[in-house]
């Protein structure tokens, strides 16, 4: 992320001596080194313990650029005094896939979390929303029926009843609804980018629930 007023629109415009704010303890510090080293640019890393301090220091003008995960940058941008003065540059300098995390050693709980996410993504694929989930029970498509608990016995596999997935969809909606509510409408990252279903040009692709 850089200030719009700097006129920088691409990381290729970075010059020797640039100062970069970030926080410690992420892969960012390593990515930053790889990035600047491979391009032969000398830089000043300013690494804070917490993200709030990074935002404050960057916003005050301590650094020319602020680097972290793209989704993180999008979220932190909204904390700036004037978010419109900053842009997230288009280049992605490393792959940082994010997902839910569970503690090691509880495979049943891990399955529940994994399939909760899968359910939300698949529900979007089949057009099941929090509004129409109940009516989908009478659908002709067996895959849809399985997703709203009208067919199959998936829940039993991890000790839940059969309408566990229906409740998820009714309460928080499918992945698209959740994204719109939490990320797009809040202005963090209105464009879904690769966070789009595989059928719509994104990379979200999940195994079928059965």
């Amino acid at each position: 992320m850089v200030r719009k007023s700097s006129g920088i629109t691409s990381t290729s415009q970075f010059k020797n001596g640039i100062s970069a704010c970030t926080n410690i303890g992420t892969t960012t510090e390593l990515n930053m080194r790889d990035f600047f080293n491979s391009r032969g640019i000398s830089y000043e890393p300013v690494a804070f313990e917490k993200a709030d301090e990074v935002v404050a220091a960057y916003d005050a003008g301590r650094c020319d650029t602020y680097t972290t995960d793209k989704s993180g940058l999008a979220a932190q941008r909204t904390k700036m005094k004037n978010p419109d003065e900053h842009i997230v540059l288009p280049e992605t300098i490393s792959k940082e896939p994010l997902g839910p995390v569970v503690r090691q050693g509880d495979s049943v709980w891990e399955d529940i979390v994994r399939w909760s996410l899968n359910t939300m993504i698949e529900a979007e694929e089949y057009g099941i929303t929090s509004a129409n989930a109940d009516s989908m029970k009478t659908s002709d498509n067996p895959q849809i029926k399985r997703l709203v608990g009208a067919e199959g016995e998936m829940g039993a596999a991890f000790g839940l009843d059969n309408e566990w997935n229906l409740r998820i969809i009714k309460q928080v909606g499918n992945y698209g609804e959740s994204y719109k509510r939490n990320i797009a409408d809040t202005g963090i990252l209105p464009d879904r980018g690769p966070n789009e279903l595989w059928t719509k040009g994104g990379i979200l692709y999940v195994p079928p629930s059965r």
Binding site: S5, G7, I8
Partner: protein, 371 residues
């Protein structure tokens, strides 16, 4: 009994850690220290980048901790002594101002003060392109304090001349003391010392071929609105803010030690000294201070230790000290929590013991020599 209890407790924790680490498949070892660290550090006193080892990163952090502690201790001592004496001043204004300073800075948590000096001062500082030169060639900006770099020619000759001057001063001082003890004559040691420390290095310039030139920082444009100074030396604002807040905070405690020390010297001592015809300065230097120091040194040692340990708050404002570089980044990259935390704890322990030993030695030196 106590020994058994201690051994049992430690034994239990060690065993517990071993079992848990085994269950999670974490292996224990210090081999990672020689691996490539692959992260860069903003500011280091020795040559370092990500291609060096984790051990080198540890040294970088340790030296940065020592650097800010030394700067902090020197500034805090100077300020603390001045304020401590000011609190005993008969001048109402000076006296109350010193008291206000002590009460104010002593009673605000240090972390808040560090944030204040860093973020408040940071926002107040100009961007590099707007900075007015300070003292002609230095620039205080939000990105740091840029000062000219010294470029020496024949630096070793200059250095030797300085060493020679210091040795000469020590010789003259011992000689002066002997003369005073045997003949009662006083030699103006201070004047001679000042003369020596200036004249000898000056000679090295005139006839020793020593040359000094400056590399002045020059403004460089990085993008439409972002600038930086190139050339010269840059002091990062993190270092300045940390050293400033540590010394302002610790100076209040040292001031109180100094005040207590001076007040702890019996009033009769001063009156007796004055009655044998010593001047005001001589009374302070020869009678009051030697006795006051014995009271001042032990609690001040504590403050030096506190300052050194408090410097670990650096992580909050991105000053790359031991905690941020080693117990922060290195720990998270390697996952060697027990190893790194134990090394860090041991390092702080060693630093503290080193300071204590030095101060104890100094305290013994000035203690009453009983015969």
């Amino acid at each position: 009994m106590t020994v058994i209890a201690v051994v049992l407790v430690f034994g239990f924790f060690t065993y517990n850690a071993q079992v848990n680490m085994e269950n999670r498949g974490i292996d224990f070892g210090y081999g990672f220290l020689s691996q490539e660290s692959s992260f860069d550090v903003q500011f280091s006193l020795i040559e370092y980048d990500g291609s060096h080892s984790y051990f080198r990163a540890y040294l970088v952090g340790l030296l940065n901790t020592i650097l800010v502690s030394v700067i902090g201790i020197i500034l805090a001592t100077i300020l603390g002594v001045l304020v401590g004496i000011a609190r005993l001043s008969p001048n109402f204004l000076i006296n109350k101002f010193a008291a206000f300073y002590v009460e104010f800075f002593r009673n605000i948590p240090l972390l808040l003060q560090i944030f204040f000096w860093y973020f408040a001062a940071l926002r107040a500082l100009p961007l590099p392109q707007d900075a007015e030169p300070l003292l002609g060639v230095t620039f205080l900006t939000i990105k740091g304090y840029f000062v000219p770099a010294f470029i020496w020619q024949n630096f070793n000759i200059f250095f030797y001349s300085l060493v020679a001057a210091i040795i000469a001063i020590i010789v003259i001082r011992t000689h002066a003391k002997k003369v005073q003890e045997t003949q009662g004559k006083q030699i103006p040691v201070l004047l001679i010392s000042i003369g020596l420390i200036f004249i000898l290095p000056l000679l090295s310039f005139l006839i020793g071929g020593v040359r000094l030139s400056f590399e002045v920082p020059v403004l460089k444009q990085l993008a439409a609105t972002s600038f930086i100074y190139e050339g010269g030396v840059s002091l990062p604002p993190e270092l300045i803010a940390l050293a400033l807040s540590l010394s302002l905070y610790t100076a209040t405690f040292i001031a109180e030690c100094v005040r207590a020390g001076i007040q702890g010297v019996n009033k009769g001592q001063k009156e007796a000294a004055a009655s044998i015809g010593l001047t005001q300065n001589q009374v302070l230097k020869l009678v009051v201070m030697p006795q006051a120091l014995r009271i001042i040194i032990p609690p001040t040692t504590n403050q030096y230790l506190n300052l050194t340990k408090n410097s670990s708050l650096a992580a909050a404002i991105a000053y790359p000290d031991l905690v941020l570089v080693f117990a922060g980044t290195a720990l998270m990259q390697t996952g060697k929590a027990i190893e790194i935390v134990s090394i860090t704890m041991f390092t702080y322990l060693s630093l503290s013991i080193a300071i204590s030993l030095f101060m104890n030695w100094y305290n013994n030196k000035i203690a009453i020599q009983e015969k």
